[in-house]
């Protein structure tokens, strides 16, 4: 087979919405017979925690996000509330982040999209290598026991070793 044989990813984001791209691409790449390593660093470490309930969507400072209700009649669901709500309001309204996260979870259910946990389990079942950056684990005060089983705690040089030969590896920075 021609083309990429390996995929190496650097995952740096720790919100609920940004949890999707790494796990979708990781699980899909293995399904296409690639060897996959995912290196989680800084906020990306959140994606490997046993408890994913702290993953939230951040509406604050995110003008790109439409806010559509996943409940109610069709006409109500079609309204995009984002341009109607000033960003200042979204930044300061207590509970807004929680509500936005609940809405995102409901939307994923409505559209047959897998949960973050489901995609993560699929990656593990397909033997995607999960690497966690030991330096940021310490920096953020995590314990190894905070993370799911099967995670290796390593440094930057291991990532480069995993990525290996650039002519055979596709490296993604997420």
């Amino acid at each position: 087979m021609a083309g990429t044989e390996k995929v190496a990813m650097i995952c740096t984001k720790g919100t609920l919405d940004w949890a999707y791209p790494p796990f979708i691409l990781g699980s899909t790449a293995v399904a296409l017979d690639k060897e996959v390593s995912m290196f989680f660093t800084f906020y990306g470490l959140n994606l490997l925690l046993k408890d994913t309930s702290k993953l939230r969507v951040s509406p604050a400072g995110n003008p790109g996000m439409p806010m559509k209700l996943p409940y109610g009649p069709e006409w109500l669901r079609k309204i995009d509330w984002a341009p109607k709500l000033p960003n200042l309001f979204m930044n300061n309204m207590p509970g807004f982040e929680w509500a936005a996260s609940k809405m995102m979870l409901q939307s994923t259910k409505n559209h047959g999209v897998a949960s973050v946990e489901e995609l993560r389990e699929m990656c593990q079942e397909f033997e995607v290598k999960f690497l966690a950056c030991q330096m940021t684990v310490e920096l953020f005060g995590y314990e190894h026991s905070d993370f799911i089983d099967g995670v290796e705690f390593v440094g930057a040089s291991t990532f480069f070793d995993e990525a290996g030969d650039a002519s055979k590896t596709m490296t993604l920075y997420l």
Binding site: M1, S27, T28, A31, L32, D33, H111, G112, V113, F126
Partner: protein, 76 residues
Amino acid sequence: MADFDQELDASGLNCPLPILRTKKTITKMEAGQVLRVIATDPGSVKDIEAFCNQTGNELVSSGEEGGKFVFMIKKS
């Protein structure tokens, strides 16, 4: 007589689940056997083709039946 060995109904599932389920099912099958996949995700039309391109399995047919997408994949 059915002209396939196994069937996978991925209706209602969105990207990348139809591909992941297809992979899981086909892994357990034997070379030469045919898997019939049913999906409702419009993206699956190109995605199943790409899956076959990348994995070397043969896409025998791809079409629409009663508003759903139906694929026949022969394991290599």
